[in-house]
Symmetry: C2
Subunit: 790 residues, 2 copies
């Protein structure tokens, strides 16, 4: 818990304000230097064209505001010995954040070639947004970041995710007023309904109204301030406004306001932690209104720049070729009085350097921001003990996620400080209701009689926003914890774009030596495309897999366990894994259990395999391969295999089931890729393969087009035909049903005789019979609904 301003060490003095201003000027100077300079970093000589970068890339507009926030947070950290980190919504303001990490020494620790001296400053400037250097955004390369600001909207949810289960952490979060217009950010304010002040840390939102986006004013800066405050109060915050364009005034107001906010946080936490009922407090936040591009050129070529959208990127654009622009840049840089800020070696003068916190208290070195450093393994109950004993093959018929639910319940129990299950109001609906035996849902809103499984102390996160589930979980993982996000399969597309950014983060951090691996982001997708009995076409979309496999192979894994036991094995594997995105798709409705726990473990370890018991090739070369991936396609494939065994006993059918989709790719393309020799052994090099697949059929072609036997591969899958109908009608609509698979076999195995022609017609008739029955009675024909293996 944080100290309060009753402590004399916290009180603000005038000398401190001067030092704060100097620090701010230093950070602003370094920000401008990064955008413009290749050499002459201390302006020892007049600026010449050769000192200027050939391509001016970077964003100035937000930098002075970020620098302002940073130095004031530093003051508070030192005064109160705060455990604080910063999430930077306007993450394109990397020059500011990098400047601060250099001032506090972290940048040089992480990148020893960039020392805190003149040579280091030269390199700091040169390498910014320069080929081979650090990118122009607050990317993973920047110490202290868990949030790259390229795609806007996710800062506040990341901040909350970081705060959960970190009671002593204060997460400051700058929200840009541009970002505030996005849906995901607008939907994030209510996160405080899910933050428990006794158990979780604090989030301090700082809404920075600099008034402009790339080319437009922002909405929140142009509605009446009373309206803005009304919104924020309505969301349960106590907003404090700090506004101005006179630095010393703003410094004083911001410092005292920050003190007030941190005092309130201390009071809230102290109240909540005294024991007794935990209630949702009114959390403080800050609305900071300062000019965009503050302290930059007021005008350029007669057009206003400071305080307008024109300062968004590079206010002076022709510095190399236009002497007036160059002179203006020099005036601008010198306005910060660098000679007062840096000593002759180029290092920050002690009055500045001493203002920064030390060691892990620096926001750029806070261990929470390099979550892998804090990561502790989950305590995982032995999943084998949760397995379903298999009697007859295919028995029992169980909901796979329901079986998993028991294990998830015990994972929650065993890890009360480092694991979260999240879902958009779909935990129960996805079959994981057993989890509520271990924990309620976190909820700080009013709880009423008749409510179930709701409590401030709950650990399961349910909110009807896939964005929040994803963003909270990302923040939680990036700060060194673990989690599972369960969603309906179709709607996980809502976070496609967030997945992109997280995948990029994982990809980049694999190559940053000081970034430690974090826990994988685990998706458990249920209520999938084939079983949307209640909801129909709008809920039918298996394309998330396609989206995910476009990401870098090193960071993505896709699993389609065919039954409950394989699902257990896969989820255990996922929760032990590091630095991946794991997508697991499993059904919730009753479905056959095909493999004993022992067989399931072996099968999952291999990722794919021949199911001898289902085929008729008995170790010889088959006539045809029936491949399947996904629970429903597996069911249809096995039913087809049975039909073939019964009606065409002479046909040698091999059944192959794929759990780990990445096994299909060549080993050159994915670390899980099966070597060609093994692929050829399993799938043959010349026999027809009828592949029943859970998703869009083209994906299987895209994964296998380099395989020898690809020309004989025929894939059935979801071809965007759906509605509210019965389960078997759904597979028929997409030609994935057992009867169609038999037809596909007959059409592709040339040597079959008249028995096959007869069988083919019987299959056509069976399809029609099923369709007619369903249209008449509204349910599936007993011959498919009551089918059992064997």
């Amino acid at each position: 818990m944080v100290k309060t301003s009753t402590d004399p060490r916290v009180r603000l003095t005038d000398g401190e304000l001067d030092r704060i201003d100097a620090y701010w000027r230093a950070a602003n100077y370094l920000s401008v230097g990064q955008i413009y300079l290749l050499a002459n970093p201390l302006l020892r000589e007049p600026l010449a064209p050769e000192h200027i970068k050939p391509r001016l890339l970077g964003h100035w507009g937000t930098d002075p505001g970020l620098n302002l926030v940073y130095v004031h947070l530093n003051r508070a950290i030192v005064a109160r010995d705060l455990d604080m980190m910063l999430v930077t919504g306007p993450g394109h303001g990397a020059p500011a954040i990098i400047a601060n990490t250099w001032l506090e020494g972290t940048f040089s620790e992480r990148y020893p070639s960039v020392g805190r001296d003149e040579i280091g400053m030269t390199e700091l400037f040169r390498q910014f947004s320069f080929p081979g250097g650090v990118p122009s955004h607050v990317a993973a390369d920047v110490p202290g970041s868990i949030h790259e600001g390229g795609e806007l909207g996710y800062s506040l949810m990341h901040a909350y995710g970081a705060a959960f289960d970190n009671p002593d952490l204060v997460v400051a979060c700058v929200v840009g007023d541009g970002e505030a217009e996005t849906g995901p950010l607008a939907g994030s304010w209510l996160s405080n309904v899910f933050l428990n002040p006794a158990r979780d840390g604090a989030v301090l939102p700082i809404l920075h109204l600099n008034g402009f986006k790339i080319a437009n004013p922002t909405v929140y800066a142009r509605i009446p301030e009373t309206d803005l405050l009304s919104i924020l109060r309505g969301y349960g915050y106590q907003p404090y406004v700090v506004a101005g364009d006179q630095p010393m005034e703003v410094h004083r107001t911001l410092a005292t306001t920050l003190d007030r906010a941190l005092d309130e946080i201390a009071e809230i936490q102290s109240r909540a932690r005294r024991g007794g009922r935990v209630e949702r407090p009114r959390w403080p936040m800050i609305v900071l209104r300062t000019p965009k591009g503050w302290t930059g050129p007021a005008e350029v070529d007669g057009v206003p720049v400071e305080g307008t959208f024109r300062s968004h990127q590079v206010p002076l654009s022709e510095v190399r070729t236009n002497p007036q622009h160059r002179a203006e840049l020099e005036r601008w840089l010198r306005s910060y009085r660098p000679e007062e800020l840096f000593d002759p070696t180029g290092a920050p003068v002690p009055a500045i350097a001493d203002l920064a916190p030390l060691g892990g208290r620096r926001m750029s070195a806070n261990p929470h921001t390099n979550g892998g450093e804090l990561l502790r393994d989950l305590v995982l109950p032995d999943y084998r003990e949760y397995g379903v004993p298999v009697g007859e093959r295919g028995e029992p018929v169980v909901g796979a996620t329901g079986v998993l639910g028991d294990w998830v319940r015990d994972v929650i129990r065993a890890n009360p400080d480092r694991f979260r299950l999240l879902g958009p109001d779909e935990v129960e609906s996805n079959g994981l209701g057993a989890a509520f035996e271990a924990s309620d849902r976190t909820f700080l809103g009013a709880i009423e009689p008749g409510d179930e499984h709701l409590a401030p102390e709950g650990r399961i996160m349910e909110v009807l926003s896939e964005h929040l589930c994803q963003g909270w979980l990302e923040g939680y993982l990036l700060t060194g914890r673990h989690g599972v996000f369960t969603s309906y399969e179709a709607f996980i597309h809502i976070v496609d774009s967030m997945l992109n950014q997280h995948a990029k983060w994982l990809k980049v951090t694999r190559d940053i030596p000081w970034r430690r691996p974090i826990a994988s982001l685990n998706y458990l997708l249920s209520s999938h495309v084939w079983r949307q009995d209640h909801n129909g076409f709008s809920h039918q979309d298996p394309g998330f897999i396609d989206h995910v496999v476009n990401k870098k192979a090193e960071v993505v894994r896709v699993y389609l366990p065919p039954d409950a036991n394989t699902l257990l094995s896969i989820m255990d594997h996922c929760l032990r894994s590091r630095h991946y995105i794991n997508v697991v798709i499993a059904g919730k409705q009753g479905a056959p259990t095909w493999l004993s726990m022992e067989d399931a473990i072996l099968h999952c370890r291999r990722g794919l395999g021949i199911w001898d018991w289902a085929g008729t090739d008995t170790g010889t070369q088959p006539d045809v391969v029936l491949a399947c991936a996904g629970d429903v396609p597996t069911l249809e494939t096995l039913a087809a295999a049975e039909l073939l065994r019964h009606h065409l006993p002479q046909l040698k059918v091999r059944v192959v089931n794929i759990v780990d989709l990445m096994r299909l790719q060549p080993e050159s393309e994915h670390p899980h890729g099966l070597p060609d020799s093994e692929f050829n052994t399993i799938f043959t090099t010349d026999k027809p393969i009828i592949f029943a697949y859970h998703g869009y059929p083209w994906l299987i072609h895209r994964l296998t087009y380099r395989r020898t036997n690809h020309p004989n591969l025929h894939v059935r899958g979801y071809k965007e035909e759906g509605t509210t109908t019965t389960p078997f009608d759904m597979v028929m609509l997409n030609d994935l049903d057992r009867f169609h698979l038999v037809i596909d076999v007959i059409d592709r195995v040339p040597q079959l005789g008249p028995t096959a022609a007869h069988l083919r017609q019987a299959m056509v008739d069976a399809r029609q019979e099923c369709r007619d029955y369903t249209r008449t009675y509204g349910e599936d024909h007993p011959m498919v609904a009551d089918w059992h293996w064997g």
Copy 2:
């Protein structure tokens, strides 16, 4: 403009309230009937198992609230002769909306087999959520809908989109309190900053707090009501609360509140349309707090159901097998007193039927909800006049979107009532700044000195929310207008999931005869993956194409124009097209112009073609095919072709450019697919194809795997390698550069001799030289930066 309650015809009478309640009971009765009954719709005999559907699918919880809103809106429509439509956020409440469309006769007009009599009622019940019938959500099959409620979050943005440029339309929009938690919905409230009361219609949001989602209470129902109202007021609304669980009381309050809200809308519009300065008014809205599953079973098996989440779907689940449940259902149905509501033939009694509006005033028959009926062609200026005259091949170097901007400007001018350009603060940044010569941006917030191109009268929509741009445009298109959405390529993934739903809508409505085709949804994606000089990795993602091509072939088109003139031709085509999703990707930076306007037209008409002038095969069979799609890949391919012509003049190189990506697919897979014979003629059946592609290379394989020459196809594209660097370094990072393409040719054409080996080494050296130069000087090597064709 709407009548006000000073008009005596608008005043509420007690008799009217009774009739309203009867209408509500009728709609509730019909809703329950749809969920449960197969027969015996008027309860002429006691309910028996055979009267019950075998599978009970549907959502009851939201129905009574929707029915309540519907009948009260009907009263207002009749009293005020309103032009009103309804957007139903809780669109899973289809039983309610369908019930109302049947009561007002529209359902029977659209589906003549479902008449307004006992047989029709039987069929109405049977076909709901039944194989072969209408889906369980307010899908496109439901008359009066422009919004399928499966994926939550988009109702309010659709409502605003429908209201733009429809001055006489009032769009009522029920927002569910579950949906309200989503980011996109939370971000929608500010839409009123973009609605001009003088020119646009009105949106009347009705936030329905029934308190629960699937398994949870909702956040907005469980924060203090003062907080909720504070949020809504802050967003510029005047919220009126209607709360209760006593029907007659709620009827009275809702009717008078609705009167008040509609009076205020009338006053706002009248004030704004008197002339003079248009300001952002405080629009009325309604907060409706009624029990979930109101009037349904209070308890089932001793557990509370009405007013809890347990009424979300089917409150009584065992009606076929459990006599108690069946008796409870019968009690429930009879509680609506059907004998008072329907005459002996099964038709609604006159007192009820007469309450509905007539003809096109019925919300279910409002022509705006079947936008194709109102659609008028755009007036399109002759794009050929905007073309760039080509001098030397490749000259001039221009930004393609900048050239297009002039044409877009004139499209805006020529269509002041039916065309909108939308973008997330990226219109200027994407090179379309010329549009502002024709129109300002719509903005009803405060406008300050120094602002540019902002006015309430503006027609260009800019808000930093891809969700809003997409949702507004969908609403606008679905009500019969036209538009273009311009975005950065990477961030259009933010609306992946919205795209899914719109594509489904287009797919389904192709097969609904009474739905007329609407204008296509046109994406102009610029600031694409190859030219993110300022922003780096977070802004680099070309995967939207992959996402789109998974949709039904009949509704998607993807274009990659290689230069300014082809872009003009393509955009003209897209704006004339109907019922598609067109994705156009084009650069904004200076790039060569390859084709004269005349050639561009021919090339775009063909969709792909051999560029004779760039190759050396001169009509003979080539040794190698260089294929390209996208502006940057085209540039690199032509540079590679030039290198080959110069260094290996004996090698016969064919250059093929692809504009219309769908041409690559087999004609069986896509209507634009090239017949195999033509494909073979162009790409040969046995020569190596080196394909330089704009996006992820696997997509080209997925499109072409069935082509004869696919085994010889080698694709270069974006393989997820990026950062902030120079344009040429970006293509080098992904092996798409000219030098690497030459290496690819040499490695794949076996007959080349020692000259080729020498050239290969030169290419390797050139790559290294370029990389070194860039790392040193921060810009591209002059040999690539200053390259010109010829």
